[in-house]
């Protein structure tokens, strides 16, 4: 009896051991599962079709071209190789303005006829209607399905747009990278200096006190940092640099830098503290000053760990949500300067997930972003783990 009890427990323990592996696998599975549906879609609102005039030679639309047409960035068919006529956009709401409710029928059953009536003699027309309200007379045109390259290289992110949604995430991906690298640019040198100071120069009492402050910094929730950034950093930056607006990649980088500092400091400090004493001793005995020892002996010795700290710092910054959401301005533009607003992957998911209907295309697109985020941080972690283990 007791034996049965023990084996039961031991099996439970064994099962628990695999829980983290199981979790990683389930998370990957779910992310991919909810995401891949995006690539079977073209972005056109579900249940809707696009039609053109019989004489229009177009066989298939590129999603981006369609977007430009409906956003009135492309105004004439000649711009995309057609006749030199102004493109006329025609939709159900236009139809409702032209014909009375009775003419359309209570169940909208007369709509196909009315649509044909209106569009028959208009070669420059392009219409979007619920597919059920069109019939075989209308020349419906297919739209190419979204491909991964559209997502990664396209720079128009309009996920809820009608009739065609655009999922060009280039600006968002670059936004995340931009802010993360900016954060490291700020945090790495400072973190390194602090770690070296604490490990090599400061006396033990100083070291202990500093550790408390750093632990404190590490424990502050990111939403508090975001709030701090919103209320203090953003207005301050605007005043100091005389900017048009304080919400910027710079604000994001500063806050993220502060958030990643504890990580960088503790890993680097640990690395320095575990350097064998004789390495330092031999350098000093050869006549080098402590400063020279640090720069020419210790840092090179710990360079793997320092690199790992940097990678983990980037990972931490890349995955941060609330702080960037509150200070970067969330504008989906390709970042060219630190003074411009940016939009990160994390902020996009956090802002938009609530309105994305479960299983819809917007939902799938956000899961694709989430997958990219997951894979990227996973890779960063692998790299960092590899370098933490290395001793040069």
């Amino acid at each position: 009896m007791k034996k049965r009890f023990y084996t039961l427990w031991e099996n439970l323990i064994r099962a628990s051991g695999f829980c983290s592996t199981l979790l990683v696998l389930s998370i990957s599975f779910y992310l991919f599962r909810e995401a891949y549906g995006l690539f079977r879609n073209s972005g056109v609102e579900s249940g809707y079709s696009i039609f053109v005039h019989q004489s229009n030679p177009i066989q298939e639309f590129e999603p981006d071209t369609l977007r430009k047409i409906f956003n009135k960035d492309v105004r004439r068919w000649s711009e995309i190789g057609g006749i030199d006529e102004r493109i006329e956009i025609f939709s159900l709401s236009d139809l409702e303005k032209k014909f009375k409710e009775e003419a359309l029928g209570p169940d909208l059953q007369f709509v196909p006829e009315k649509v044909w009536e209106y569009s028959e003699n208009k070669p420059a027309i392009i219409g979007y209607f619920p597919s059920k309200l069109l019939d075989s007379r209308h020349k419906t045109v297919a739209v190419r399905q979204i491909e991964f390259s559209d997502l990664v290289f396209g720079d128009s992110w309009f996920p809820a747009s009608s009739p065609i949604a655009s999922f060009g995430a280039a600006s968002i991906l670059l936004g995340s990278l931009w802010v993360s690298f900016g954060a490291i640019l700020f945090a790495m040198p400072m973190g390194l200096v602090v770690a070296i100071y604490l490990a090599e120069i400061a006396n033990p009492r100083m070291r202990e006190i500093s550790l408390h402050f750093i632990e404190l910094l590490a424990g502050i929730p990111s939403v508090v940092f975001g709030f701090f950034g919103l209320v203090l950093v953003v207005p301050l930056l605007k005043d100091i640099f005389n900017l048009d607006q304080g919400e910027s990649a710079l604000a994001g980088s500063i806050i993220l830098g502060i958030i990643s500092l504890p990580t960088i400091i503790s890993i680097t400090q640990d690395a320095f503290l575990t350097i064998p004493k004789d390495i330092k001793a031999s350098s000093l005995s050869l006549g080098a000053t402590e400063l020279q020892t640090i720069f020419f002996v210790l840092i090179p010795y710990a360079k793997s760990a320092i690199f790992a700290a940097m990678i983990l710092g980037i990972g931490r910054a890349f995955g941060e949500t609330m702080a960037v959401l509150m200070v970067t301005g969330n504008a989906a533009i390709i970042p060219e300067s630190f003074f411009q607003p940016v939009r990160t992957i994390t902020a996009t998911i956090a802002s938009e997930l609530g309105e994305a209907p479960n299983g819809g295309i917007h939902y799938e697109a956000l899961f694709v972003l989430g997958t990219i985020l997951f894979v990227f941080t996973f890779l960063l972690n692998l790299i960092a783990n590899f370098f933490v283990g290395k001793k040069s």
Partner: protein, 276 residues
């Protein structure tokens, strides 16, 4: 052993309170409507016992989505339902009632020191789509126009897009905020900023702009102008619900539309809907 015991306790608690929660009316959606809804909820709960109401924001889009998914009872929306949404509801076999509960004037706001005090529809469209990006093009100082907008989940955003932007997209470099108050705060701090918020949110730290749709008469967004229908950018604020669920939400809805409920709505700066 202790975890097991705690779990049992929790389970007991949940079954006790759970009944009340199961009956809780879940309300979700428009950020614009949150503060006024909260006031009404507080007042209603003082009258009606044995009822609980949960209020969550996130933008009109989130409320409509949740109603579609069946996870809420009332969706707050500062815009009409899109045709596509209506069709989705139909597909699910749900009959949705759209109840206007207040009227709101959409105000375009700028910094108090901005010399520009009136704009026509075309100018507004060009500013918010990014076509015009310097204030001097519309009679202001030579400085960049910083556009503040809401996220796409916002009913206010959709309303702006439909009615002012002629369905075009906002400028890509417009700064996206998650809630109205952020826009008010940002515009109050930024001389070159322009944004759009519900009338109720306009404080004296920002300046609302008079708007004209015909280029002749410029009408400032005031409570009276909006109530009389003179101000061109008014919109009804709605509550959507599934007709099948009517009995659960009827009490609260009736209170919303009653004299007292509407008084509270007015108290927060919104225009009451005509009640019988």
């Amino acid at each position: 052993m202790i975890p097991k015991f705690l779990f049992l306790v929790l389970l007991l608690c949940s079954s006790a309170r759970g009944n009340l929660y199961a009956q809780a009316i879940k309300v979700k959606g428009s950020d614009t409507m949150l503060p006024m809804m909260q006031l009404v909820v507080e007042a209603y709960l003082k009258k009606a016992t044995n009822v609980d109401i949960n209020l969550t924001g996130g933008g009109s889009g989130t409320g409509i989505t949740a109603l579609l998914d069946g996870t809420v009872d009332l969706a707050m929306s500062s815009r009409e339902a899109k045709l596509a949404e209506k069709m989705k509801f139909k597909e699910k076999g749900a009959e949705i009632k759209f109840v206007p509960i207040a009227t709101d004037a959409l105000s375009v706001i700028v910094h108090p020191s901005n010399p520009v005090a009136k704009l026509n529809k075309d100018q507004l469209e060009d500013i918010f789509t990014g076509k015009i990006n310097n204030w001097k093009e519309i009679g202001g100082t030579d400085s960049k126009i910083i556009v503040y907008t809401r996220e796409s989940s916002s009913g206010t955003y959709e309303f702006m897009k439909e009615n002012i932007l002629d369905k075009r997209e906002f400028a890509k470099d417009a700064i996206s905020t998650s809630a109205t108050a952020q826009i008010v705060f940002a515009v109050s701090q930024n001389k070159g900023a322009i944004g759009y918020v519900g009338l109720a949110y306009v404080e004296n730290i920002v300046k609302p702009v008079a708007i004209s749709f015909d280029g002749k008469e410029y009408i400032p967004p005031t409570f009276n102008n909006a109530a009389k229908g003179i101000y061109p950018v008014t919109r009804p604020l709605f509550v959507f619900y599934n007709a099948a669920n009517e009995s659960k939400v009827k009490g609260f809805l009736d209170f919303l539309l009653s004299v007292n409920g509407q008084k509270l709505i007015t108290h927060k700066g919104f225009i009451p809907v005509n009640w019988q």
